[in-house]
């Protein structure tokens, strides 16, 4: 049981408070972007390219413009007049808003149709005639790296190849020395495929420019409203749209998972058209458009190696990555981290040498490189290290749990300096894995596995013991477009003791309206029900970099605690004044200050706040408000121990997840119910890429599964009944000892599942399977090993 310092009525940390935001969502009163309707609003639809790579010979809008209700057709040439046809990406690359001559990927935006009604806009879209001259696309990232490959981005001055950047970390020579002399080396090429966040709400906006006031209100599905305001000002400042004239409102968001961090061309076109017409412009993308053109995640080709001793001691790892970024690098990583936090890939193990390198390349695929519920490329890294750990265990003939236990960083070794430069703040990996093994009944399952194998049945047990890195981040290292990645909280307590608090983050379902209130309740003793939380309006909320990468609790949550502590210091002064005692004589318990040794003499926080407005000490500022911008001293390092049990049908190769036990350690827990919910959801987004999801392209550049008919988001049937638990190792540097949790399960689950499937068939000669592991892929692998004889 989690110990709570506050009463249930106050509802501070550790209480499973039911969510405050639910009331509107369960009654159909959520306010999502497509629910917004403004007077005179026009609708925008987008003409998209059927080709992955083509010259645009002409765009003929005549027929479209003849349709009653079609107001305008906007092309790249139109935007060029205002120098709005290109925009920067968050990685300081460049991206077309609308093309003037060439399309670079299938479903790229080609023209926008503005109409009085969404149906008419669609009619107009169908009536625009675009004449293309198709070219042969470059779809294979390895071929794109060839010297003779055609250069895809001649628009970039001096560009003579398709290489975007090279990155490396670690000690190359020391690592090579260990590899050269190691007893055992395992090596595996693996692909972490291109997938899509597919939040159930797609992206969209209503851009409302007021010509009289020269003011833009931008309602949009964004996880980072403040950063977006700054980006709009940077892109459109030259036409007079400066930052004080821009208000970004991020209403309720129907899931984000990283896909709502970037700026998409549709947003910019909507702003441009609203700016030119003075009418509010609504753009809501279809699911197919969302899957086919919005930022993808992953797409890392990794060559992973691990070296160790024959008795199972890990000594070194070496990863080499080719990152397919598509047409432009539109990732959403911190500026100095082109591979995100991939360097966490040395994992939870104590060894001294690692070397990682990555090269990124342009291809004719949609741009991106966003998270998919993962903290900046951590999933790719964790998949590599956890697969290699299992392969190493198999190679040296050790049980994978035993091998992990022997190689874990011990809890007394924290803070631990990783070979790639991280300082892991805290962890107790042995306790997590032991709890997971006890919960699942590991030893009995191993016995059962042997028995089943005798009967020809295929059952596998897979483990993943991962270290996450979240909460970007310390301002000295972390920025996006130069803006430091701190985050903020502002608390205003009203005279009657009720409060409103505003944040630079933006919930997309994480439950901030509840958890932030609980943090403030913990610190100030005001019941969480009396604390209103607001986010997402740049006119009212303090500046912050938004919600992604599990950073809200580590940054804005910390800011809430720090701002509340400023208020508690002020409260103490007022209490001393009210009770005519010295501050040193006062003690705090949640909700009141009392006199040491005379607890009957006390003032409640509500009485103190009232006095801040009615009877505060002379010389003290009136009111009861505080703001804090929190710059974390380090990231936080949540961890987890996951065990997956699968049964494989020996005839059909159907894979059934029988059980999945997830033990997470996210430090101190604010709301156990919400943490558990986050883990459930993350696990389903972990089984998704492990077994179902992949965006597939053919050689001609066509996407083969760009709709929900064939892009397999798990339903309640594919998703197993998850079993969850936790250990608590507080983050030592965080004001409330919390880490982050939203993404851990998505990061940790895929290797546990794949390790289980490989474990089920390893005795049949299979060492590795690429994700998503489908029954057909498994069937082909087993067939190649002769498992089905000659007739299958």
């Amino acid at each position: 049981m989690i110990k709570c310092k506050t009463s249930k009525e106050i509802g501070g940390m550790g209480h499973s408070k039911k969510r405050k935001e639910d009331a509107r969502f369960i009654q159909g009163k959520g306010n999502y972007v497509d629910d917004i309707k403004l007077p005179g609003m026009l609708y925008m639809d987008i003409v998209r390219s059927p080709y992955a790579y083509a010259k645009i010979k002409s765009i003929d809008a005549t027929k479209a413009l003849e349709i009653p209700g079609v107001i305008a057709v906007v092309t790249g040439k139109d935007l060029e007049k205002y120098n709005l046809h290109w925009m920067p990406t968050l990685m300081s690359d460049t991206q077309m808003v609308l093309p003037t001559d060439t399309v670079m990927y299938q479903s790229q935006e080609v023209a926008a149709v503005i109409a009085t009604d969404r149906y008419v806009a669609r009619d107009g879209k169908e009536a625009v005639v675009v004449d293309y001259e198709p070219m042969k696309p470059l779809m294979d990232p390895f071929k794109a790296m060839d010297e003779e490959a055609p250069v895809l981005r001649p628009d970039k001055e001096g560009k003579t190849d398709n290489h975007i950047w090279h990155w490396e970390v670690g000690d190359k020579e020391k690592t090579a020395d260990i590899f050269n002399s190691a007893d055992v080396v395992v090596k595996q090429q693996m692909h972490i495929p291109r997938i899509h966040v597919a939040s159930i709400e797609t992206c969209g906006c209503v851009a409302a420019y007021d010509k009289v006031e020269n003011h833009l209100t931008m309602y949009m599905t964004t996880q980072a409203p403040h950063a977006i305001r700054t980006v709009i000002a940077l892109v459109a400042g030259h036409v007079g749209l400066t930052e004080e004239k821009i208000r970004v409102i991020s209403p309720d968001i129907g899931g984000g998972f990283g896909g709502k961090v970037p700026v998409y061309p549709g947003y910019v076109i909507a702003i441009a058209v609203s700016f030119l017409t003075g009418a509010p412009i609504k753009w809501i993308e279809d699911r197919s458009e969302n899957l086919q053109a919005d930022s993808f995640a992953r797409d890392y080709h990794i060559t992973a190696e691990m070296a160790g001793t024959s008795d199972g001691k890990i000594q070194a790892t070496r990863f080499k990555v080719l990152a397919d970024h598509g047409y432009t690098d539109a990732s959403a990583n911190p500026s100095k981290f082109p591979t995100g936090l991939f360097s966490i890939g040395t994992g939870s193990y104590d060894y001294g040498a690692a070397y990682m390198e990555a090269d990124a390349v342009y291809t004719n695929k949609p741009p991106g490189g966003v998270a998919y519920r993962c903290s900046f490329r951590v999933t790719e890294a964790v998949h590599a290290i956890e697969r290699m750990t299992d392969m190493f265990a198999k190679k040296v003939g050790k049980d994978p749990a035993q091998l992990r236990m022997e190689n874990f960083i011990k809890k007394e070794q924290f803070p631990w300096a990783s070979p790639t430069g991280w300082s892991y703040d805290s962890g107790d990996y042995h306790a997590g894995l032991k709890l997971a093994m006890d919960t699942v009944g590991y030893d009995e399952l191993r016995k059962e596995q042997l028995e089943l194998r005798k009967e020809g049945k295929l059952m596998g047990i897979g483990i993943s013991t991962f270290t996450e890195v979240v909460g970007a981040g310390p301002a000295k290292d972390f920025d996006i477009l130069g803006i430091k990645m701190f985050d903020s909280a502002e608390i205003r307590v009203h005279p009657t003791g009720k409060a409103i608090a505003r944040f630079g983050t933006k919930s997309q379902g994480q439950g901030h309206e509840t958890t932030y209130a609980q943090i403030i309740a913990e610190e100030l003793g005001i019941p969480m029900e009396h604390i209103q939380i607001e986010e997402g309006d740049t006119d009212t909320a303090p500046y912050g970099l938004g919600t992604y990468a599990s950073r809200s609790t580590p940054t804005a949550g910390a800011a809430a605690a720090m701002a509340a502590r400023k208020l508690r210091d002020k409260a103490k002064k007022i209490a001393a004044h009210l009770m005519e005692v010295s501050e040193q004589d006062l003690e705090w318990e949640p909700g009141k200050f009392f006199v040491k040794g005379a607890p009957e003499k006390s003032k409640t926080i509500q009485e103190i706040v009232f006095a801040a407005y009615t009877n505060h000490p002379e010389g003290m500022e009136g009111g009861f408000e505080a703001t804090h911008y929190y710059d974390p001293p380090n990231l936080t390092f949540p961890s987890g121990a996951y065990i997956c049990i699968v049964d494989v049908d020996p005839d059909t190769c159907d894979i059934k997840v029988r059980r999945f036990v997830a033990i997470d350690d996210c430090g101190n827990i604010i709301n156990p119910m919400i943490v558990q919910g986050q883990v459930h959801g993350g696990l389903t987004q972990g089984i998704a890429p492990a077994m179902y999801e992949e965006l597939i392209y053919d050689e001609a550049g066509n996407i083969l599964n760009g709709t929900f008919m064939d892009y397999l988001v798990p339903t309640a049937v594919e998703s197993p009944s998850w079993e969850t638990g936790h250990t608590v190792t507080p983050a030592p540097h965080h004001p409330i000892g919390a880490k982050g949790v939203g993404e851990s399960p998505t990061v940790g689950a895929p290797p546990a599942i794949v390790n289980a499937i490989v474990d089920a068939v390893h005795h049949l000669g299979i060492d590795h399977l690429e994700i998503p592991v489908t029954p057909f892929k498994l069937y082909k692998a087993l067939k190649a090993k002769g498992y089905f004889g000659d007739n299958a």
């Binding site: 369960i26 629910d35 159930i200 197919s288 709709t707 998703s719």
Partner: protein, 167 residues
Amino acid sequence: MKKNITFKVNGTEHSVEVEPRELLIHVIREKISMTGSHIGCDTSSCGACTILVDGKSAKSCTLLAVQANGKEITTVEGLATAEGLHPIQEGFHLNHALHCGFCTPGMMMRAIEMLEKNPNPTEEEIRWGIAGNLCRCTGYNNIVKAIQWASAKMQDKELPSTEPEFV
């Protein structure tokens, strides 16, 4: 050629002019101004638009508005009464069966018809019963719990605990 259709939404009669091609979800959201039902895909796969048509759950993105002529429609806005929330709404809230809330209205409408046909579904029946509704946030565990809770509540049975098992 516009058509005039008349139908009841949450007990109130509406008469609206629609084009024959207009989808029911668009008419409900934009002409009746009830935006609780959502649009999450363009292939009838996600179920965010699920409503009840004469008591049967239906994906309103797959019905033409003209097909609703003379029908009685219930949307999420019609679930709560003067006495309070519908048990399915309570169940979702108490069991933390929603995160972003976008799939929630459709998921609840589907669950209501399922429970009417089968008041005591097993976990497997619940999972298959909502297989036409996608949720990207919750991992479904708590949606299953919420539907089980509502099943008990609707039959005045002993209510299952709503405390998380995560302790």
